[in-house]
Amino acid sequence: MGHDVSQVAQRLSAQSVKGYYNPYELLQFPEKIEMNQWFTSPELTSLFGSDEYEALSEEQKQKLSFFEAVNFFSLNIHGEKSLLEGLTKRLYDEAPSEVTDYLHHFVDEENKHMYYFGTFCQKYAGKIYPDRKLNFPREYATGEEEFLFFVKVFVFEEIVDFYNVTAARDERVMTLSREINRNHHDDEVRHLAFGRVMLKELFETHSSQWTKETLQGVRDYIKAYYLTTWREYYNPDIYVDVGLAKPYELAEKVFESPAAKAHRQKASKASLQYLQKIGILNEVFEL
């Protein structure tokens, strides 16, 4: 593994040590919360920009924002569970000691985030929305599986960070939700920096040995993974809880709408451009 990755890992470890916090002291979860407030930015709710959204009362829009926040936090829990499995598998593996040191912080911080997301969902919604993703074993070219693991981390975290930053800055959003988003973003800045340098390193190491078909397969996978990741933001379970009719049809309709496509493109712009800049993608595709 290259000098760049070790140097970045060392720098990030120092920052993690400096910013270390006790999750049980940092945020407090009141017994009850008022429902007539915003739990995420209205613009981040999946129905925003649709006729169905405009037809909702203010009270229904805020209820929607609550279940959208529960969905977002649930997605984070499922994503971070997979991430933790992958990260712990890589502890004390072939990576330099600086990388292993940083993986300890990465694991620690992701675990704290899950505690925040899970506590919010369980305490105020009484549930976590279930995961619908399944992964089936397949064969990989040399280095492809390792590369795709970090691609998934990268795509997932880059999208999440767009939501974290937007909600954390939004003064309309209730304080606890803003704080969860802010805390997550503060740690994710380091995870994103690590993810970017890892991706570049792994691509440079392995892609020259891949066949043209493998490289195209990797590019197709990245596009499909972006779309699958985004599709989970349009969860029919949210619409059931808000009391909206035909939840599955509604999810499909809003996902395909021009407003939703424009939102996804905006939120994914920086990550897609990065993947193109370092040669992983040869085009910025539409989402």
């Binding site: 279930p130 619908r132 993703k133 399944l134 089936f136 397949r138 699958t228 599709r231």
Partner: protein, 84 residues
Amino acid sequence: MKTEQEIKENLKAWIVKKNPKIKSEDLTNETLLMESRIISSLHIMELILEIEKLRGSKFNIKNIKPGVFQSVNSIYQAFFVSAT
């Protein structure tokens, strides 16, 4: 509730929509979907949503056994005939 034929036709239409490389006339109820790479792991989440919509109810993915996504027939058997 849709008939068996309607459900299978819906599933095939969904598969063709998700993978334009396959023509509807080449897709039968027995076509091997995963093995032929017509659908991949990344399609499963959306396929589960489609199945839930057709069934009118959710199911626990932890109860899904390997091989249920092998073909349209096996999907029908697992999610519309057998208890899951």
